[in-house]
């Protein structure tokens, strides 16, 4: 349960940690688009280099980030296998009615790498940005849309609260699971239906406590006169600094390099 690293923040004071959250959000978005624009292995040298650079600068070990892939290994493997068998082309090997083709192998490993880069890149954002900074950044990025009626502040607040309660709920899950295991509950064996049924003693208390927490939180917010984003000032104003501009320049070079690779190779 505690093994989930996606979405977890690791406090630090590296250059990457100190970047303006808006910078990190924008770069992550463009990075994701870039991954889908690039269409060959050589082009991926650019994002791979970018991730390596960023992870070295952030002081977060690559091993830790790769650990975060573990829960998604199934999806990556499935993508890989489906691609291998579904794409027609030069046949390398036959297993019964299925053919492994050269093109399939190429496409399969390409897709797998794309997914890995996608996950590692986005988790780098959450690993180095505190949830508060992240939602602050989103709020600011969305604020131009306020004029057309997008409730930017409320959306950001909802996200902050949701993120803030993930660890709490995980802890709660862990506790209830243990309490039921102490009464002989079994969450690990049996077939699918049996297992789903066995989750009831976990889910009912979890829902009850989530509602109780939500209720308490709403009360506490009201007690402090919270009433949305109108006229609220903030303690920490976001401000772009020199490192942000340098980062943008480095990133633009990488994006241009990547796009150029489409035409050159």
């Amino acid at each position: 349960m505690r093994e989930i690293t996606i979405g977890q923040y690791i406090p630090g004071n590296s250059i990457i940690h100190r970047l303006d959250p808006r910078t990190k959000i924008i770069i992550t978005l463009v990075y994701m688009i870039l991954l889908f624009v690039l269409d060959n292995f050589k082009g991926y040298l650019f994002p791979v280099g970018f991730i390596l650079l960023a992870s070295v600068l952030s002081g977060i070990s690559l091993r830790y980030m790769i650990k975060g892939l573990r829960p998604l290994i199934f999806i990556i493997a499935l993508t890989f296998i489906l691609n291998i068998f579904m794409i027609k082309g030069r046949i390398l090997y036959e297993i019964g009615p299925f053919d492994i083709t050269y093109e399939g192998l190429y496409q399969g490993s390409f897709m797998a790498i794309r997914l890995v880069l996608l996950i590692v890149g986005t988790s780098l954002l959450t690993l180095t940005t505190s949830p508060i900074a992240l939602t602050d950044g989103i709020e600011r990025l969305l604020s131009p849309a306020k004029r057309i009626g997008v409730p930017a502040h409320e959306l950001a607040m909802m996200m902050t609260i949701a993120l803030r309660f993930i660890p709490t709920l995980l802890e709660e899950t862990d506790k209830i699971m243990k309490a039921q295991m102490a009464r002989g509950a079994d969450f690990e064996s049996g077939n699918m239906i049996r297992r789903a049924k066995n989750l009831v003693p976990l889910l009912v208390p979890l829902f009850i406590s989530a509602f109780r927490r939500a209720d308490d939180l709403a009360m506490a917010m009201e007690a402090r006169c919270y009433r949305g984003g109108e006229n609220r000032t903030r303690m920490k104003e976001l401000r772009m600094s020199k490192i942000d501009f340098v980062t943008y320049i480095v990133f633009i070079i990488i994006v241009l390099g990547g796009i150029a690779s489409r035409f050159i190779w």
Binding site: I60, Y64, K67, K175, A179, Q180, R183, G184, A185, P205
Partner: protein
């Protein structure tokens, strides 16, 4: 039932930036039928320690031996250990989930695959042990009960498995004085009736002093000392330095001593204090 903890060390999330050592080389021997109190400030490792005693957590290193059986050697049926070592978590009412009180208390026995008539007998016994009327509450939803009653139903849920060791993690937290006294009284009766081993985790030095035979003190993941309440509460300075205290009445008597009154310093309960003060007054009168 005896439990021996040998050189137990537990590290949470090893190999990650969140690595933290919760227990360091803990040694503890619990003999059959003893009543232990476990004290220590928040985060001292009490909860981690008790979760090892029924195999919910696996030691990073060290051993837990229950009745001569090492919990983590091959072929040990951990489910049967969990049935013998009952663990009541903090705020146990948060684990209630069934539609009726009866079904909830029966959850443990049913997981043990007991025949239905046995299950019913155990539920009835367990509910009565915690001072609830079986006929009255069995068909109620656990969520329409009062806080104190919910907690008792949850404790009954563990008792229904007939554990030989009962571990309670702050069973009285958040209860009013009357609810607290009732729960503690029930623990005492239970111990007398079933002759089980009990481990009570508590922040209330009064409760600990009143009830237990022996105390173990946890501090920063280590078991600093263990001994009888008189031995432990004799060290006022050591305990306060650890963020703990001594029972108020013990403190009162120590202060009286400091003022030069001729009373004993190792008083644990109000009754003892009364007798001691009366004795001192009589001594003075006859002198």
């Amino acid at each position: 039932m005896s439990i021996v903890v040998k050189n137990l060390t537990h590290v949470y999330m090893p190999g990650t930036p969140f690595e933290s050592v919760a227990l360091k080389d803990v040694n503890w021997e619990i003999a059959d039928g003893e009543f232990w109190g476990l004290i220590g400030h928040t985060g001292s490792g009490k909860s981690t320690l008790i979760q090892h005693l029924n195999g919910l957590l696996k030691p990073t290193s060290g051993e837990i031996i229950v009745n001569g059986v090492n919990l983590h050697s091959k072929g040990v049926n951990i489910k049967s250990i969990r049935q013998k070592v009952g663990l009541v978590f903090q705020y146990p009412e948060h684990q209630l989930f069934e539609e009726t009180v009866e079904k909830d208390v029966a959850f443990g026995p049913r997981n043990m695959n007991l025949p239905e008539d046995q299950v019913e007998k155990r539920v009835r016994e367990a509910l009565e042990l915690v001072g609830l009327n079986y006929e009255e509450v069995k068909d109620k939803s656990p969520f329409e009960l009062s806080g104190g009653q919910m907690r008792r139903v949850a404790i009954a849920g563990v008792l229904a498995m007939n554990p030989e060791v009962l571990i309670l993690d702050e069973p009285t937290a958040g209860l009013d004085p009357r609810g607290r006294d009732e729960i503690l009284d029930e623990i005492v009766t239970l111990r007398k009736r079933r002759r089980i081993t009990v481990i009570l985790v508590s922040h209330s030095m009064e409760d600990i002093a009143k009830l237990v035979d022996k105390i173990a003190v946890m501090h920063r993941g280590k078991m600093i000392k263990s001994g009888t309440p008189r031995e432990i509460f004799g060290d006022y300075k050591g305990l306060t330095a650890m963020g703990l205290g001594i029972p108020q009445i013990t403190e009162l008597m120590l202060r009286l001593r400091e003022k030069g009154k001729n009373v004993a310093g190792d008083i644990l309960t109000v009754e003892e204090a009364r007798d001691e003060i009366l004795k001192a007054i009589r001594r003075k009168g006859s002198a």
